[in-house]
Structures are given as C-alpha cells and as structure tokens.
Symmetry: C2
Subunit: 203 residues, 2 copies
DNA sequence: AATTATATAGGTGAAAGCACCTAGAAGGTC
DNA sequence: GACCTTCTAGGTGCTTTCACCTATATAATT
C-alpha cells in the first residue's frame, strides 16, 4: 500500500520532500522537529494511533495538516477524526486514485473526504436540521402563540414582547401558559428552555 | 456529457431501465407518473432547474432519490441542494469516474458527495463546533463555577443543583452571580440563556 | 342561535432567578 | 502576618415566570 502511494507521489513535481515514519511516535518526533505541510497518517498506526497523533499535533499547535488513511468505513472513527480536526479522510480503496486531488485540496486549506464516507457528514448535518414540524404538538399552536414563541426564543421577557406587540404583558403571559399547555411543558422556565433549545427551528 | 454517462450506465447490469428527459418539467412528469429509484439531475437544467425539481419531488412525497450533477463548485448552490434534501452531489469533472459508486451508495440509502465539495460540509460542521475557549471570559471561571454552569446548561434549577452537589442552594446562587459577573451577563435569566445557547460547547 | 376557538386582559400565589450585600473557612502568595 | 482567591452560606428586595383562575370581544363553525 505504502509503496503504491509513494510511487504516485514521487511522480508529482509539486512535492518537494517525502519523508516516512514507522509509527506514531516516530511521526510525531519528525513533525515536531521540522515543518511539513501535510502528514498522511494511517489511522490504525502502531504506537499512539492516528487520532492520538492528531490530538498531540493540535495540542502543540503544529501547523501540519493531517490527512487520514483507513481501510474501515467506521462512522465513530470518522467522527472522532473530524472532531479532532482532520483535514482529510481517505479510504485506502480510493487512495491511489484520489490522493493527488486530496493533497491539492488540503494544501489550499480545504478538506477532502472520500465520497463513500461523506454520507456520514450529511447525516450529521441533517440531524441538526430537523424541521420544526417534527416537534410534537407544535402544529397545534395558533399564529399569535407562534409569534410569542419566536420572541421568547429571541431571549425577550414577557414585558419586552408586550411592548413590541403593543399588547398587555398579561396577554403575553396567557399565551405563554397556553403554549406550555399545548406543548405539554411544565416546570420552571420550561418554555424558555424549550424556545432556546429549538431556537434554530423557530426561524 | 450525457452520452458519456449513458455509456457508462448502460454497461451496468444492475440498472434495469434508463430514461431521459429534456428539461425539468418533463422530468417531473415522468417522476410523477412512474416510480424510479434514482434521478440524475443537472442542476442547471432548463425549466424549473434542478433544485426546483427536488423541492417539487419532496413536496409531492415522491420517493425517487435525487442526485445532482453540476459543473460549478458553488457553495451556496450546494447548500441549497443539501438543505432541500439531495442524496448526491456530483461534479461533472468526476462524474464518469464516480457515477457508479454514487448510484450504489444512494441506492442503499446513503449519500454521495464529490470530494472536492465535501469540504463545504466540514466547514458547516466546524462552524457549529467552535470550542468553548473561544467564548470570552470563560477561562476566568473557577472549577466550581464551571461545574455549576454545566448543570445550568442541563436545565436544572439552583435547588436541583444544590441537591446533587450536596451544597446549599444559596451557594449555587452565589456561584451564579459570580459567573454572571465574570461573563459580563446581566438581566433576567441571562445566565440560563447563555448556558443553553452554548449547551453543546459545555460538554 | 348556539358553540367553539382565538386574542385580549386581569387576579392571585408560588417558585425561581437576579443584584447586591455580609461573612467564615481553607488555601496559596507576597 | 497581611492579602487574595475560592468555596461555602445566609439576608433582602425585586423581577420574571409559572399555574390556575375569570372574563370580554370577535370570528368562524355547526
């Protein structure tokens, strides 16, 4: 595997130097002593492992970008890697084909994710973008109640909302109560908590 | 372009039928009359456009998955497409190489994003994952204060926090006050609002 | 005509949080 | 020893929210 990648990279004129390391610790030593643009790291690496190396690199504020190579399409590993700050995530099955494009993208400050993995990213985004309508009972709210809810999500007090809508603070209070009942919320500041938790969804 | 892709797809034994449409409206008519697994759509399509087609497909609850083809690496267009519910986003430059893999992934309920585009997804995720340390003044908090703040973010009252930590509710109140001062927060429930807004960052 | 839903407004009492105080105990620093 | 910070605990007064009431005007529905 390493030989195949090395062969491809040696053909690239833009690559000035090509250095290899046997394991995680040896790799970190080299990254710590000398400045490299990009490190291509096997995630299942002996001693420290790829993600451990990345965490050390981030901690020491070494500017070298880390691109991971892996055989497995494990979602958890991928999540860990991206959370830790990886710049690229390449499946070995695609590596030889995509490596040059990947290094270009990363060199220019971008990211490169093997397409077979990119679905995980989409899922993570869509989880956060669930529509308001999926929250139970929200569809039972009237227009006035919805309007009040939006203002609550904007961190306004009942008094402030009343001033803005030219209605009595008592009316706002009543709407709050009705909203709480419709959403089956109870307890102290539960409505405020709900509104803030679903801030993004309230547009 | 279309001929190249057609040639590749005709070689695939798993593809039972291959139907083409001249523009967005014609495509929607066909998707509406007959059930297809996947539609490969040029985003810059005459009449309606690719994203318009996707929105209509979603609205009518047609189960056909939509994969977009495009020449441009425009971030806004990509965002629109993914928000609308696209299953795939293929750059034309990679299309012939990746199309088969793409269709396989989508057919199995997954997603496929051209790697040159996948960086946009990472950026969107990282925007939401900004570290807690970037919030001003947070580093001035003591350990006890940080602990209290986490509990507040978990939507607990001072009384509840006091019970869990075996301290007086008044102590919790005092910590709240000190936290508010250190974070330069003031006003009603400002601390609760802060804690909830930064919930994810408080781990 | 009667009913229902909605928006409006008010009352009361309780719980929670905020702001501003004091103060003791324990720890480290100069 | 004097000083500072942190954690602890309490007091007082105020605002906000909550929960549970009543009540009127209006519009839509039956």
């Amino acid at each position: 595997m390493r030989k195949g990648i090395r062969a491809v990279l040696e053909d690239e004129p833009e690559i000035e130097r090509l250095v290899e390391a046997e394991n995680g610790e040896a790799a970190f030593d080299k990254l710590n002593k000398e400045v490299f643009d990009i490190a291509l790291v096997d995630i299942e690496m002996p001693k420290m492992g790829g993600i451990g190396l990345l965490q050390k690199v981030m901690k020491e504020k070494i500017k070298t970008k880390i691109v991971f190579l892996t055989m497995h399409k494990d979602k958890d590993v991928f999540d860990q890697a991206m959370n830790a700050g990886a710049s690229g995530y390449l499946l070995k099955e695609n590596a030889v084909d995509d490596i040059v494009e990947c290094l270009h993208a990363v060199q220019q400050g971008g990211y490169f994710i093997s397409p077979a993995i990119s679905g995980y990213l989409v899922q993570r985004l869509q989880k956060q973008a669930e529509p308001l309508s999926t929250i139970p009972y929200v569809d039972q709210l009237t227009n006035a109640e919805r309007a009040i809810l939006k203002h609550i999500a904007e961190e306004k007090t009942s008094q402030q909302i009343a001033d803005e809508l030219f209605i009595s603070p008592k009316t706002v209070e009543n709407h709050r109560n009705n909203i709480s009942k419709k959403l089956h919320l109870s307890g102290t500041h539960s409505l405020l908590k709900f509104a803030l938790s679903n801030k993004d969804l309230l547009k």
